[in-house]
Symmetry: C2
Subunit: 204 residues, 2 copies
DNA sequence: CCGTTTCGGAACGGGCACGTATCGATGAGT
DNA sequence: ACTCATCGATACGTGCCCGTTCCGAAACGG
């Protein structure tokens, strides 16, 4: 009893219209995202997710009306701040740190982005869910890093390359698997920042 | 008669095991690539292609055994050198020219790349067809531009940023639609090259 | 000019996945 | 201890698409 209450008293008391625990729900989300990474969005089936989590298809449809809504919920639940809260004091080190985080970040989420890349253009809800889960938080964090650098006077506010830096890092991250067939590891992306981004900004 | 012979006498005389003309074949290819851009790879159906080109499904299956093989053939047929043969004499202008070409290039082929992005990880034949049709030719042309610049002494051969330039341009090209929701037009990508790439290489 | 071949059209069998409905079992709340 | 909602399992109806097959019609080729 006491051990079960460790989940948090109000967690259960709070309006849970379902008997599924949060952990159980997260199993469904992990399963569907894993299958999307492996087989692509279209090839993922509710039946497959139900089978791999040993739950009933009916259960999934009771909680989420349809497959896109289910996937969107999974994305929203996996929303995490990954390289947020970086603040070393200098722009160069902040960017290096962000690059390192992005490199570690890359492997799984790049796959997810790739697999959802086209599905997202069809379903608006899926689109916003993906943006809010994987894209906007990181881009915003990056922009904040840059803004702090500008405020410290490390780089002029109207530096023409500033606007392109998020697209550059995101782009290179996603381009390497296509061009070289390897995932973009931290070493690769840090080296890129030091070789291309920092010199452009006049740092180092 | 004479006007029909304008197709080329040997074009017909050459071993065409099929009654389909090259132009007719290209209609099929254009149709399937258009549908892929519009609906994604998985959603494309042989029935849809047959209907939109007013041919029989049987005809498609007579020429190509299966859907991936058909799409791969379409990709191989659409293989074109886009920004090849650029040679202005200076590295900076070559890169500007390549950027302009890439910007015009982008709209349709970025969509195709996006739509095929995941399907390609499943089917090796599709993968090589896509690489040979859309990726390798452009990357090779870009590398040649850079190599000529090195040979002219405009940039040191061991410049650390050199290796990243193809990935940068490709990456930024594909990143903008995701981050900003607009296609990367020539103006955008040329501005990027001038703001970020050229300064990094020490070219003003 | 006539046989042969491939064309376009249509129907078919098979499989698969969506989303629904039914049914006993189980666990929570009173 | 009893009730009731939700669980997992399963079966079902529907629609879609693959790949095949059959059928005239039309176009080559000799």
């Amino acid at each position: 009893m006491t051990s079960q209450a460790a989940d948090g008293p109000d967690t259960v008391a709070a309006s849970r219209r379902s008997k599924l625990t949060r952990e159980r729900e997260q199993e469904f989300f992990d399963a569907v995202l894993d299958q999307i990474r492996a087989c692509g969005y279209d090839s993922v089936t509710m039946e497959g997710v139900a089978a791999s989590t040993r739950c009933s298809k009916a259960t999934l449809y009771r909680q989420w009306r349809t497959k896109p809504q289910f996937v969107a919920a999974a994305l929203r639940a996996s929303r995490r701040t990954r390289f947020d809260g970086i603040d070393t004091g200098t722009l160069a080190d902040d960017l290096r740190e962000a690059a390192r985080a992005a490199g570690a970040w890359s492997a799984k989420d790049t796959r997810l982005l790739q697999a959802l890349g086209h599905a997202v253009t069809q379903d608006p809800e899926l689109r916003t869910a993906l943006r809010e889960a994987l894209i906007d938080p990181e881009i915003d964090a990056l922009k904040q890093i840059l803004r702090r650098g500008v405020e410290r006077g490390e780089v002029p506010a109207d530096h023409p390359a500033l606007d392109y830096i998020p697209a550059q890092i995101f782009g290179v991250l996603r381009a390497r698997p296509v061009l070289e067939g390897k995932d973009a590891d931290p070493e690769y992306i840090v080296r890129f920042v030091e070789a291309a981004v920092l010199p452009t900004l006049g740092l180092t």
